[in-house]
Amino acid sequence: MNHVRSASGFRNPWLQLALSVACVLVSELLLKRGASATANPNSAWSWTGIGGLASPLVWLAILFVIASFLSWLYVLKYIPLSIAFPLSRVVDVLVPLCCWILLGESISPRRWFGIGLVVIGLAIVAQPVAKLEERL
């Protein structure tokens, strides 16, 4: 972890990690909206998802994907992948929650249990990081 520098402000890799996650979340929700609107299972190329490009929402989602990608590259420069990647999966909790709130998809008891496990796992991965940051 010695290559995590105590960069401040916008250049802080942890802030960039949060930004990257936020952009991924927005892009996923836009992609689902856009992909559903353009779904055509009868097309021979439907398995590639290329038809989704007909939706402006998909293009907007791609912009968010690019933004998340750029901040993610910055994150990778400073934080080990085996720490940054598990933490970035907080998005896997946020996506079902937002689907529930915004897209009206349902969350079963088992899914809630899974969300709970992810949150505990995130806390376990983040704990040594928090200690390290305190020392900086």
Partner: protein
Amino acid sequence: MTWISFVLIFISLIAFVIGQLLLKKGMELTSNAVPSRRHIALFIGGGIVAMTISFFLTLGLLQRFDLSYLYPFQGLSVILIAITAALTLREKLTLQLTIGALLISAGIVLVSLS
């Protein structure tokens, strides 16, 4: 869900893991005292190709399944990436990190099975 959907999800997952490893390696190279632009471009470019394949496969799958059902399959990537990063990039995989990654993966799989 048909077997072909599972195959597509699997290919998308493996392409995603390979992509992340290539990107990380490429960004590590930028910290070298004398960075080789050709090597960096090769790793970042390879990473982008792998991520693009994964992206379009996911987009196609999204046209058939709910996002909250389909997307969490990517959760398996957490433990896969933690292990492969330790093996190929020589990152330290502590017991605490392994347990955390396993819980996150298990949680995401549970979410995806619902």
